[in-house]
């Protein structure tokens, strides 16, 4: 018995600052994915929405919102909130329904209209929320945490700001080829180093922006895909949504402190590494099998961290891998062929879905100028605030 599900359709709304309601982006992405799948919305058995948090309210109940916009037809509905991992958890929920036989075709949608500037927590006095507390007590924005991670890499592994800039140069060059990306201009290392420092040692061009955007997938059982005339669909083989394990000894956004390792020794791998390991184990593959990876480059330095957490190289060797061109187009394992968040910006509920859209197009050989030659196996990886893992393995 196969545990795969088929990706019948993928669709996106271009990223940018469009200033329109998120429902519009999600609905446009959903319609594009349905067209791509050649499936009528009224024939979809279930819709799963990744929740949009505007002003801090995950109360728009995204699945139901998109169902209404598309025209309610009685489908099963679910809504998922897991911060940056929301999209992956929406995919996980859809996949579980398909594998359990509860639905044959499921539409997964995520979209956001992001606020300008720093992400911030919901209003009011909410001292029971660690996200609220880190802002109130420390003014610790997301870029501040990225700065901490970057500085740590410099101290421990000898990474340099020039290494970080090269990530941006690589990703911007790929984003320039992607019609869905917000930023479609190549960037030079000089431009990165001339941009303003945001959180030492990171500069404006080291850090991803916030954006509007939407992404959607039509998933189905393999049987349905074959009956539907798609004998060799792109398949999702694994979805990792693991939590960290106690004690988490790497300071994680949005926490003010780590767990103490005084009673229980920390595991030999970090949370991020455990996310991808769980995906590899479920898929029965290893890093050597990958054709490409889409990772959360919230900052340039963080992309280097992901190389290590994906097992593409040993600890501290991320910058070396980058310099050798291994993760560039034409390299052994191109990373962020889509252009990554460096080119897209963050549209939180859509991001993890957008990663799988890119994997789908790449595995179909339909990624145009940014196509990774002969792509067979792709992985996406990210981490959602509050301890949400997210990694998807797709194969062809």
């Amino acid at each position: 018995m196969t545990r795969d599900v088929a990706v019948l359709g993928a669709g996106m709304h271009p990223w940018g600052k469009w200033g329109r309601p998120f429902v519009e982006y999600g609905t446009a992405a959903a319609r594009a994915a349905l067209t791509d799948a050649d499936v009528e919305w009224r024939d979809v058995g279930s819709i799963v929405g990744a929740d949009t948090v505007r002003g801090g309210y995950p109360g728009y109940v995204a699945g139901a919102t998109f169902a209404k916009a598309l025209g309610r037809q009685g489908a099963r509905v679910a809504s998922v909130y897991a911060a940056c991992a929301s999209g992956a958890q929406a995919i996980a929920a859809a996949r579980a329904q398909i594998l359990a036989g509860l639905a044959e075709v499921v539409l997964v949608v995520g979209a956001d209209a992001a606020p300008k500037g720093f992400f911030r927590p919901a209003g009011g006095e909410r001292p029971d929320d660690p996200d609220w507390l880190r802002f109130r007590l420390l003014g610790a924005t997301n870029p501040a945490y990225f700065g901490l991670y970057a500085r740590r890499r410099m101290a421990v592994h000898g990474d340099t700001p020039e290494d970080f800039a090269l990530v941006k140069v690589k990703n911007a060059a790929m984003g320039a080829l992607n019609p869905y990306a917000r930023y479609r201009k190549r960037v030079t290392a000089e431009e990165v180093s001339a941009s303003a420092v945001v959180a030492d040692p990171l500069r404006l061009l080291d850090i991803c922006a916030t954006s509007d955007g939407g992404a959607a997938l039509v998933l189905s059982s393999i049987d349905f895909a074959q009956r539907h005339g798609v004998p060799r669909p792109v398949r999702i083989r694994a979805v990792s949504t693991v939590t960290p394990r106690f004690p988490n000894t790497v300071l994680d956004l949005p926490d003010i402190a780590t767990d103490s390792a005084v009673a229980v020794a920390a595991a030999g791998e970090t949370f991020r590494a455990s996310i991808t390991r769980a995906a590899y184990e479920e898929a029965g593959i290893g890093p050597e099998d990958l054709s490409l990876a889409e990772v959360y480059d919230l900052s340039t330095a963080l992309e280097l961290q992901w190389y290590e957490d994906l097992g593409l190289c040993g600890a501290g060797e991320g910058a070396k891998l980058l310099r050798e061109g291994v993760t560039a187009p034409g390299g052994r394992i191109p990373v962020n062929a889509s252009g990554g968040l460096a080119s897209f910006g963050e549209a939180v509920p859509a991001q993890a879905i957008a990663q799988v859209c890119e994997l789908t197009w790449q595995l179909r050989g339909a990624a145009g100028d940014r196509q990774v030659a002969g792509a067979r196996v792709g992985i996406s990886a990210n981490q959602g605030l509050f301890g949400h893992g997210s990694s998807v393995v797709a194969v062809r």
Binding site: R151, A155, V198, T249, T258, V262, V264
Partner: protein
């Protein structure tokens, strides 16, 4: 007119001068330390759960990493938009006895240029912000051997 000094968050620190300490809790069963304090139930999944007792954290530790904030953070951080933005450093500090890393603002005047990973710092009382009636107090990290 003097303002009332009130902790910006209740129960996370106490004391003055050299007696100032961050306050965590410790599980009576497995000895895990929690900061911010955990008063409900021990979060060690291998522990059946003991009582959680307040405990002052070590005063000194070593810098795990640091950064700063060159742009004004959004609310709920409190700052006066009428005044020019003064960046402050943020320091993540490893406390060796508790085997925990705690983030905090650097003491006023300490910039990223003064810091290195591994440097020893100590916790000192600080002011987060002031309004008409209240001085809201917090903790700061300051390199040891720097003037009192």
């Amino acid at each position: 007119m003097s303002r009332t000094r009130t902790p910006a968050v209740a129960g996370w620190f106490s004391g003055d001068g050299n007696g100032f300490r961050l306050l965590g809790t410790r599980c009576s069963s497995c000895a895990t330390v929690f900061f911010p304090r955990e008063d409900d139930h021990c979060r060690n999944p291998y522990c059946a759960g003991g009582s959680l007792e307040e405990m002052p954290l070590s005063r000194r530790g070593r810098i795990w990493s640091y950064t700063d904030s060159r742009y004004r953070p959004p609310s709920p951080y409190v700052s006066n938009p009428e005044l020019p933005w003064e960046p402050y450093a943020l320091i993540a500090v490893e406390l060796p006895d508790e085997r925990i890393v705690v983030l905090g603002q650097a003491a006023p005047g300490v910039t990223v240029a003064d810091l290195t990973v591994g440097m020893e710092v100590e916790v000192v009382p600080g002011v987060l912000h002031e309004d008409a009636e209240t001085t809201w107090t917090t903790w700061h990290w300051r390199p040891t051997g720097v003037g009192e």
